[in-house]
Amino acid sequence: MTVLTISVPRINDQLSDFSTLASIWRQVMDAGDGAEVHFDFSRCDFLRPNAVVFLGGLARLMQQRGGVPRFLSGTMQNWVRTNLLQNGFAAAMGENVSSWSGNSIPFREDPWEDKTAIVDGYLKPLWLGKGWVNVSRLLTNAISGQMWEIYANAFGHGESPVGALSCGQYFPKRHELVLAVADFGVGIPSNARLHGNPNFTGKEAMEWAFYPGTTSIPHSTGTPRGMGLDLLREFIRVSQGVLAIYSHDGYARIDGSGEIYQNLPAFFEGTLVQVTLRCDDTYYSLSNEVDSAPYF
């Protein structure tokens, strides 16, 4: 059996950090099915939730292919070790330890679409319902509905062999509430190339996926689909949050100041989404106006 050791450095949430994750994915893929991979954290002093969901999903992908992932806890610095214990990642990866709440939104794996478990058991109580952001019950429901669009993309379009993985963190000093969701499916650019233009670059594919009216991805039974990313973009812009999506060779970042779409220099087979909400005096609101025009 091939045994490979991969050094995991500090991983934040910038483009360069994504390249690091993509590089880890590439090393694991190159090791082949059935490989044993040791993840060494001695160079790592910080892991954002995007790295946690990525590594968790990668571990499950390896296991599905007969591989053995080992996260070397003895190499972890205190902050990293505490974080992975607290959010339940260590327990999920087989350690006989318990998690606790703290500032973490727990590491969660959803092999299939379960709206009640994800929305009522996770997003509402553990992400939005802990008092880190000031949102009314109505707005909690509205944000949960928007976040569901990410899961719907993972389960519906993504064809992810490991489903969707989620994890988050409240950063009190930064006044940020972060939620990351990863899948290892066909990705947004692949879908955009199928339904838009096969010659799309990663940048063009991401732009297309966010453009209203062009995300018409039909179901095999002829159901029009799409719209989710466009609606999510609208919410993020209004709420001054940040939405970052890395998918195959495309990158999109939406925030209150604008939108950035780029080609990614490093490729990975899946989609990594990170949503950041502000926890300061941000006024979260959505229009309550109901349009009186005919629907159709």
């Binding site: 569901w148 039909p218 159901t223 029009p224 989710g228």
Partner: protein, 117 residues
């Protein structure tokens, strides 16, 4: 007039394609018979586009917009649900406005892709 309580069919969260399919199956035939259908969203708290795509957007394959405007009534819809629904309808109208051959080609590619995956 048919009155359908959405919450009884899909619960408080109207989000998935399956949820939408359940609604579609309840309203399609009455609409085809020329009946008026009242979709009551009382107690439904969360809305997402897959639900509306499968439940409402699909109706545009079989019915003209003016028929739906006059025979399908939405009650107790939240402001956000209203916005999501309107965007989905806009999207569905574009989809069904595309030539049949183009839609069939897209559907075939999606199906083949899903099978290959």
């Amino acid at each position: 007039m048919q009155h359908i309580a959405v919450k009884e069919l899909v619960g408080e969260n109207a989000m998935t394609l399956d949820d939408g399919e359940a609604i579609f199956n309840q309203i399609h035939d009455p609409l085809a018979r020329g009946e008026t259908v009242e979709l009551d969203f009382d107690g439904v708290e969360i809305f997402a586009s897959p639900f509306f795509n499968a439940g409402i957007g699909r109706l545009l394959a079989d019915f003209q917009p003016d028929i739906l405007n006059s025979h399908l009534i939405f009650q107790h819809m939240s402001a956000l649900g209203d916005r999501v629904l309107r965007r989905v309808i806009e999207n569905a109208k574009e989809y069904y406005a595309a030539p049949t051959e183009q839609r069939q080609a897209i559907d075939r590619i999606v199906h083949d892709n899903a099978v290959a995956a």
